[in-house]
Symmetry: C2
Subunit: 444 residues, 2 copies
């Protein structure tokens, strides 16, 4: 078998064929979607290779080309799109041991793809800087996995998503060829690897912009209605004079599933969750006067604490899943020019089947809201039907129930020629074949 030949040539590059390891490292959190759980069931790597540095990556890439073995790069495995799942076996390249932080300067750093995001921030904070954006899975996610699979997150209310100019400064990729090349993608060009799930080159270094650290306050308020929580959240999102990192209205009954925070949200009420700079708190509070503060704490990411961002973005779905496995979710972007109207319209449509929570973000310079509504699961067909209902009502959807890049990304997609670039870096079509479904390999 080809993989055995490849393994024999690995030399001292660490690898594992241990069954539990193969299972564990061939997965991510795709099972939030019952459709993906079905479609990706049992798909598994033949070997997990764990490079120590770029030289190891180049060696593995060359071997995969020579032996015609698929390669799927992965980071922390915290994504929801099956980006870590090898559709046709082969090598899963676990980049989580490549963690070096190389070059911190004012406004930017360079680092290896496996650096955990919360460790990057922990290292940077004493110097007064932090990452601009992170997912709600920050405490386990790697920077490479976030850039390759994410679209934005905490911080996007200020800086927009990863697709906005300046939110990925550069990426270094290794091509999958008999003689791999190393390509530095700067500026716009770096978008070629954004949300491409590792199918457009193996990322071995990233240059990311940094933000000034503020003394963040985690805060939650209750409002009588979801509409009021949304209106207050929008006022905060539009307030350029308020320094903030997260603005998230959450409708009942979601707060019921919020563990320690659940006790604070009375039956039927909605929450507004936010991260605000202490220096902006007085102004923030003047904008959310209709709400009642039920939680206020210094930002704390230490192991015993639960930072408030772990109730937002797709962690909201996770909080519900902890006590009810029969839910799924949806991914959408509301139109900026009729934002609250569109949210109210969708929220009225589903009679308890879809529970909304919004993430205010900037998108192309405008304030709008993306959302990951929790969906009570009935059938696979209904999941897709719900997608089309949103679309019919003028809401953009990035369907999280499909596993290919083309079908799922949509508005989260970078504006870059990822297909054309793949032809250059993956002529044999070995970077997780099938994930970019429209790609036809240049060579057999």
């Amino acid at each position: 078998m080809k993989v055995h030949g490849l393994i024999e040539d690995l030399g001292d590059v660490p690898f594992s064929v241990e069954p539990s390891m193969l299972r564990r490292k061939s997965r991510d959190y795709f099972w939030y979607s019952q459709a993906l759980a079905e479609d990706l069931a049992g798909k598994q790597a033949d070997v997990i290779v764990t490079p120590r540095d770029e030289a190891d990556v180049i060696r593995v890439a060359a071997l995969c080309a020579r032996w015609r073995v698929p390669l799927t790069p992965r980071g922390g495995g915290t994504g929801n799109y099956g980006q870590a799942v090898p559709l046709h076996g082969g090598v899963v390249l676990d980049l989580s041991e490549m963690t070096a932080i190389a070059d911190v300067r004012p406004g930017a750093l360079r680092c290896a793809p496996g650096a955990k995001m919360h460790l990057i921030d922990a290292e940077l904070r004493p110097g007064g800087q932090e990452l601009r954006l992170h997912p709600s899975t920050k405490r386990t996610a790697t920077i490479g996995g976030f850039v390759a699979g994410g679209s934005g997150g905490v911080g996007s209310v200020t800086y927009g998503g990863l697709r906005e100019p300046g939110n990925i400064l550069a990426a270094r990729v290794v091509t999958l060829e008999e003689t791999p090349r190393v390509i530095e993608l700067r500026g716009d060009a770096a978008q070629k690897i954004n949300r491409a799930y590792g199918t457009t080159g193996i990322v071995t270094a990233l240059e990311m912009p940094l933000a000034p650290v503020w003394d963040w306050v985690d805060i939650a308020l209750v409002f009588d209605t979801f509409a009021e929580a949304c209106a207050a959240g929008l006022a905060v999102a539009l307030a350029d004079g308020v320094v903030k990192k997260l603005v998230t209205p959450i409708s009942w009954p979601i707060p019921r599933y919020f563990g320690p925070l659940a006790a604070l949200a009375p039956e039927g009420k909605s929450l507004l969750i936010a991260m605000v700079a202490r220096a902006s708190m007085e102004t923030f509070l003047s904008l959310v006067r209709g709400g009642e503060i039920v939680h206020e704490a210094d930002f704390d990411e230490s192991p015993a604490a639960t930072p408030i961002y772990e109730y937002t973005w797709n962690h909201t779905t996770l909080q519900v899943l902890k006590s009810d496995r029969n839910v799924s979710y949806q991914q959408c972007l509301f139109p900026h020019d009729r934002l609250l109207e569109s949210v109210a319209e969708m929220d009225a449509l589903f009679d308890g089947e879809v529970w909304h929570h919004l993430e205010f973000i900037r998108f192309a310079g405008r304030v709008t809201a993306s959302a990951l509504p929790v969906v009570r699961f009935t059938t696979r067909a209904r999941l897709f039907e719900i997608v089309s209902i949103y679309e019919k009502h003028g809401v953009f959807v990035a369907n999280p129930h499909v596993f290919t890049l083309e079908d799922g990304s949509r508005h989260k997609r970078a504006e870059a020629d990822q297909l054309g670039f793949k032809a250059e870096v993956d002529p044999l079509g070995l970077l997780n074949p099938g994930k970019m479904r429209t790609y036809e390999p240049m060579r057999a």
Copy 2:
């Protein structure tokens, strides 16, 4: 005469009745408007009083109430609206000696109204902070004058104007009564003194938000057309991933008047001027590819240097006035939802009579552009006619050719009950009577 009685009661509070001093301290740069030059000609204080501290202010306020003498507060006198001109004589209260900086903390400071803005920044910068907003007259303007008469400026492309929540944290005012009171206005309430020209209380302290300092770069590029410079500027203004402080497209022939910078702008071309954080320069340059860099320098506010912001906002008019006194200006805000169309429409209307330059700003959370177009002066009637042409085309105008608060402020006006507050702090109607023309004193 009442003023003589007042002077006798001043005790050791410094004052002057020296004629050149009376003339100089009763003026600002209102003469940019030929209409104001006419209307405000010869208006002059009877005495200039220069308080050393709040106790002095209280003493003068009490004396003005007792003697029924008008009082007009002033700062650096760099405004263009005649805010320093006493319409009915009396005391001009020169606050420029009250310069203390009291309480610098992360994200905010408290200071006396006469603190010069460039000196505040010079003091803060080693600690990594600076003011969010400043006028183009920063090197001579006081913080109190800016807040009492300004609306925004350099920094507004990121933080919006002074009217946005959080851009004035608090103001302390002394009332004009026989027994003056001291009132602390926090948050929204502080807007009662924003752009009220000192008619709603004598500001004796301000609490202002601070921004992180970046390593700013002054840059200018030339574009073939004004439309191209505007489009590039808008792309930058909309890029939330680019850290910036100023984005100013300037149409030909304005650059001809730009002294040392004039040589760099070829005949017929337009400029784009910007202040960008060094860490964002690569991204910035990718957004303005159609332009050619003609100037790039480290930000420098030292006496021998000319920071690039001194070619923008109303300094643009000043640069032209240096060699051609026959110009005036206009003040407007373009509609955010048809921004470039509206600019192109207005720019095509005047056949060389109006020269446009834009200031990209955030206004109520949206990117738009304010502008201070240079106008070739013909007649007073034509100045007002131009105002109405803008308004007819759906552009908001804050007419700079009238001297009352109500007629001039318009979209620059704070959303606060300034008239109601004036009744509380100035029952006798002695704070520059006539400046807030709709105010009827509560008592004679």
